[in-house]
């Protein structure tokens, strides 16, 4: 128990009390608190247990870099694991719970991992579970997964909305600190469309902590308010708070998540909890700031140890003291500000520990004036305490020789504020492809060459002084606006005052790890979130994982949910030291999106559940549903599978439907067939080149079945094409291939025959189609079509004629997929429903049944007509017995390679029919084998492609592709082996046409 609420100060609203719970216990806070600040104010210091060793952990930072204080926010379907307590805005009724502990946070049994800790070193998994011991993984995985980890995702559905949208602008400014605000002002004043996004609820960045700085004569926070007011008044500037730009993709496309309602208990009606924005812009200003770095020493993960500026931020923004006795340990000037501000706020500063011998006089004066003990040329060698910090161990340090002295002093402290310098937040610049460059002055990487159109400004570029941030920001904003075509006037100049004790940005004494010359060798953490220690880094180096990419993967350093925001540079420095190389020689890894974790819900947006993907409905859809059809999706189309009558199952229904077609009349919705309007003076020649069979002689009023090949000679698609006029054709394609065939035709017309005068247009949606099939189809149709003689003379086989069905203009084509006397009737889609209804009504007298895709399949399989399962991209026309449709008299697409020897060998898998010998239904995908038993099936000779029960011959039948085809297999008994689903049944190989082999039924 150490933190507390200060009497005064902070940007919180002390009149608005908020109640919340953590691990079920009730606490109070104020509007403006984060969960972390409110818990600290309540004296809570233990926030969670660490990933591997289950060590107690507190709050380490005040921002998105937080590696330790991860909690599960909310409960039930709304729960969200691994959220950072430091960025959760407090709201009334907030519920949070700690993670990775059992049975509870205070008494975590798995913390024994600490004792056996030497076992869980870098590469533990690789060493333990690879090679001969790999099987052990199977045994231990469950326990290891339970023991190591973070929060658990909810298994309940998320009741909240997430949305996605698109945003366009000229200039995107990421970060609304001083540099970002200056950039937005410069670009906005130039007239550019500007989006200013900041991950925090309040704009201002570092300025929110400043009480003493002034800009243009205004206190810093007043300047922020004034700047925001000016930006808000500019019509083309949008300010987006609570919006994290997490990813920088190719061509200035960026991803951002706006937390619309995460600061509310539940979103308002119809409001998204989070909104994902895909931002496309001409230019980007990266003003993403910098993150303070830890220093690595024994016990540097104890609750109570935290980043110095974060301690300051808790005081300045939320009026929270992080402890009652604070030690500050720093290797640079910036943390003096923390010490001084905390002291001024009434917090006891036990000491400032600084490895540097030479400390600038304004700092020294300010420290002395406040009576703070300054230990120059000293370092912290250890932090002690179990669940919270108790003492800090200090030793003298020789900065010349970088050696730690042997004498020791122990200072009582409940908080240790550490600063090892600042790491520019270069994530987005690195994602954008620029290789980071090492800046020795700040001992860190800054953005390198811009491979995309961005400009970095301020702390993320290594400029830490306020005046530099502002002027660089203004300059970047002006340049970005210019990139987008908006010339700006003069560059803004800022009149800035900062207190003398603000320190200098170039004051860093690089110090990465403190090693005691003697004494205990405790754990020193580099990556707090993944429990990677300094020793792990050295171990990786000793084992040969010297490249940073290897180091990262072997130790998992920087691979936790925080992506190494606080650990990356320290890890590189330790590796460099182990290799006796410089940091730039060791290099850095490239950052990948996302900068901070993104909820899957935000990425999915509304494309979940009901809205997961669009479906296509035919014009008769509602009628099928009303008729009780079982609707199935075929590709994107919704199609009736069967129209079940009461008491029927799917089998009964399709058998009844197919039988009725053979005996009387049925009709099926074929609106889904792909239809392409082919028009132009060269249309016929074009068709003749894309189909393998001849189209030159096709007269007006006739349809022809055609085969289309790919360039490699395999079958691509089939369908009938109707000649509607000398220069106008209606091509039909399979439902599944419609889009592919259209693109194929367009490609040929664009790239191969640009001189041909042909236009192709999809008219799939223009036409509703009904196939009326069966011996009574003619009589039925003639009862409603009076202006066309449907007799064999009037409409011969493959004839196509316009007619009127009652009052509906239609096209009638005498085509048959079922093998029966049949007609396809097409009408404009808006007539589709009426067409269907009129036929149903007229059909009553003829015993008409509507049939679905199952019976459609049954009828075509009985006839041996090929469809998608046979046109599988590997078969040729010859394989499917359609060799006679490949012309030898003309050139067409696919012919040269179709004639390759290998595609014409007799032992290729070719189309056959098979009949189940023992009356067992066959499964599509079964292999055809010679072996009589499932145990010894022998090699696969082919596979079953389409199966059905045939009411016409009362047997289970199938089409199959079989080595050697019918020629070498006729009447053989083989076995349909289905080892996956079970099944090994004898089948007889027969002709693929099971019924009415001479086709007399359709020619009546």
């Amino acid at each position: 128990m150490s933190g507390y609420r200060l009497e005064n100060g902070g940007l919180i609203d002390r009149s608005k009390r908020l109640n919340f719970t953590f691990d079920g216990k009730r606490y109070g806070g104020f509007s403006g608190d984060t969960l972390a600040s409110a818990l600290l104010a309540n004296g809570v210091s233990l926030f969670g247990r660490s990933f591997k060793y289950h060590r107690p952990r507190g709050v380490y930072s005040a921002g998105p870099e937080e590696p330790n204080a991860l909690v599960t926010l909310r409960s039930g379907g709304r729960s969200e694991p691994n959220t950072k307590a430091t960025v959760i805005e407090l709201y009334e009724g907030l519920q949070a719970s700690s993670q990775n502990r059992w049975p509870n946070l205070q008494y975590d049994l798995l913390s024994i991992n600490q004792i056996g800790g030497s076992m869980l070193v870098a590469g533990f998994y690789y060493k333990t579970f690879m090679g001969p011991t790999r099987k052990a993984w199977m045994l231990y995985e469950h326990f290891i997964r339970k023991a190591a980890g973070l929060g658990a995702a909810s298994k309940e559905a998320d009741p909240d909305r997430h949305e996605k949208s698109n945003l366009f602008c000229d200039v995107l400014v990421v970060g609304a600190g001083p540099a970002g605000l200056a950039a937005a002002l410069a670009a906005g004043r130039a007239g550019a469309r500007v989006v200013l996004a900041d991950e925090n609820a309040q704009a201002g960045g570092a300025l929110l902590s400043e009480q003493e700085e002034t800009i243009d004569g205004l206190p810093a926070q007043d300047w922020v308010a004034q700047s925001l007011a000016e930006l808000a008044a500019l019509p083309d500037v949008s300010i987006m708070p609570r919006t994290t730009v997490y990813g920088y993709y190719d061509h200035n496309v960026l991803g951002a998540v706006e937390r619309v309602a995460d600061h509310l208990a539940t979103p308002n009606a119809h409001q998204a909890r989070q909104k994902h924005w895909t931002i496309r812009c001409a230019s980007v200003v990266l003003a993403t700031g910098a993150i303070e770095r830890p220093i690595v020493f024994d016990g540097n993960d104890k609750p109570g140890v935290m980043l110095a500026d974060s301690a300051r931020r808790f005081a300045q923004r939320q009026g929270v003291a992080v402890g009652r006795q604070v030690v500050v340990f720093t290797n640079n000037d910036s943390a003096y500000r923390a010490a001084l501000d905390l002291k001024d706020a009434g917090v006891e500063i036990a000491a400032i520990v600084d490895p540097r011998g030479d400390i600038s006089s304004p700092l020294k004066d300010a420290v002395q004036k406040r009576g703070i003990r300054l230990l120059a040329s000293h370092v912290v060698t250890g932090a002690k305490g179990s669940k919270s910090l108790k003492t800090v161990e200090i030793a003298p340090f020789d900065p010349e020789n970088q050696t730690v002295g042997e004498s020791r002093e122990w200072i009582a402290a409940d908080s240790l504020a550490v600063s090892g310098g600042w790491t520019p937040t270069i994530h987005l610049a690195s994602q954008a492809g620029g290789k980071p460059v090492f800046n020795a002055e700040i001992a860190s990487f800054v953005p390198g060459e811009a491979l995309q159109n961005w400009h970095a400004a301020g702390a993320c570029n290594g400029d830490f002084a306020l005046e530099d941030c502002l002027s660089a920001g203004a300059n970047a904003g002006a340049v970005a606006a210019r990139d987008a075509g908006f010339a700006s006037g003069t560059t803004d100049v800022f009149d800035v005052t900062v207190p003398a004790h603000a320190g200098s940005g170039s004051s860093l004494y690089p110090l990465w790890e403190i090693t005691r010359p003697n004494g205990p060798k405790g754990k020193k953490f580099v990556d707090l979130q993944h429990d990677v220690t300094a020793e792990d880094v050295r171990l990786a180096q000793r084992e040969g994982f010297e490249s940073v990419e290897h180091l990262k993967r072997y130790t998992t350093l920087g691979m936790a949910a925080d992506q190494g925001k606080t650990s990356n540079v320290n890890g590189l420095a330790l590796m460099a030291a182990a290799l006796e190389r410089s940091i730039p020689e060791v290099g850095t890894t490239r950052f990948r999106p996302p900068y901070t974790p993104v909820a899957l819900g935000a990425l999915a947006g509304r494309e979940t559940g009901f809205h997961i993907s669009p479906v296509r409905r035919t014009p008769m859809h509602d009628l099928h549903v009303k008729a009780g059809a079982d609707m199935l999706t075929a590709g994107q189309w919704m199609r009736p599978q069967v129209y079940r009558k009461s008491g029927e199952d799917v089998f009964d229904a399709y058998v009844r439907e197919a039988r009725t077609v053979r005996e009387g009349v049925g009709m099926v919705d074929v609106s889904t067939l792909g239809k392409i309007d082919v028009q132009g003076p060269d249309a016929q020649e074009f068709l003749n080149r894309v189909y393998s069979n001849g189209f030159k002689s096709l007269p007006v009023g006739k349809a022809r079945y055609g085969l289309m090949l790919r360039e490699d000679g395999c079958l691509f698609d089939d369908g009938t094409t109707w000649c509607l006029g000398e220069t106008q054709y209606l091509m039909t394609t399979t439902t599944a291939n419609a889009a592919g065939v259209l693109s194929h035709l367009e490609f040929l017309l664009a790239t191969v025959w640009p001189e041909m005068r042909v236009q192709v247009t999809s008219v799939t949606e223009q036409w509703a189609g009904v196939a009326v099939a069966g011996p009574k189809s003619r009589a039925l149709l003639q009862s409603v079509i009076k202006d066309l003689d449907l007799s064999d003379e009037g409409v011969p086989f493959m004839g196509v004629y316009p007619a009127t069905l009652e009052d509906i203009p239609v096209l009638v084509a005498r085509l048959s997929f079922s093998g029966e006397l049949a007609y396809e009737v097409y009408a404009g889609s808006n007539y589709g429903a009426a067409l269907w209804e009129k036929l149903i009504l007229a059909g009553e007298a003829f015993g008409l049944v509507p049939y679905g895709t199952e019976a459609l399949g049954t009828l075509r399989i009985e006839k041996g007509h090929v469809a998608g399962p046979e046109l599988d991209g590997r078969t040729t026309a010859r394989d499917l017995g359609l060799g006679g449709m490949t012309s030898s008299k003309k050139h067409y697409i696919g012919r040269p390679l179709m004639e390759r020897e290998a595609l014409n060998e007799d032992n290729r898998q070719r189309l056959v029919g098979v009949i189940s010998s023992n009356g067992t239904p066959l499964s599509a995908g079964s292999h055809l084998v010679e072996g009589k038993t499932a145990e010894q099936p022998g090699r696969s000779l082919g596979h079953v492609s389409s199966t059905t029960y045939s009411p016409a011959i009362d047997k289970f039948i199938a089409l199959a592709l079989l080595e050697g085809g019918l020629e070498t297999n006729a009447e053989r008994i083989l076995y349909a082996a289905d080892p996956l689903r079970g099944g090994h049944d004898p089948v007889e190989v027969v002709s693929p046409c099971f019924f009415d082999k001479d086709g007399s039924r359709m020619h009546v």
């Binding site: 190719d250 080149r689 490699d712 693109s743 490609f747 017309l749 664009a750 790239t751 640009p754 004639e899």
Partner: protein, 102 residues
């Protein structure tokens, strides 16, 4: 990734469908040498750097275009319309990234 369409202007890659290597020319219809056809259908260079590719704006105007794209840097250059309308169109001047892709 953004692709400049000569007709529609710059659009997201999601609106386009890749259509293969645009440096390959289809042999004449009456070509009979299988080796020539084999090269046309199967042989592809995969240079590190600049590629010339066919894309179709399937989610837009359906135009087939030729696009210069550097597979190493992801840079995208200007595109041109393929086919009977391939003469420079009016929108050409408006497409933004015109720098050569090396």
């Amino acid at each position: 990734m953004r692709i400049p369409c000569p007709i529609c202007g710059e659009r997201d890659v999601g609106e386009f469908t890749y259509g293969g290597d645009a440096t390959v020319a289809r042999p004449a219809m009456d070509e009979t040498d299988p080796a020539v056809w084999n090269r046309f259908v199967y042989d592809r260079e995969n240079p590190r750097g600049a590629h010339l590719e066919f894309w179709q704006h399937t989610g837009g105007c359906r135009a087939w275009i030729k696009l210069r794209r550097n597979v190493l840097t992801h840079q995208v250059g200007a595109s041109e319309l393929v086919g009977p309308w391939s003469k420079p169109s009016e929108k050409d001047a408006q497409t933004k990234r015109q720098e050569p892709v090396e």
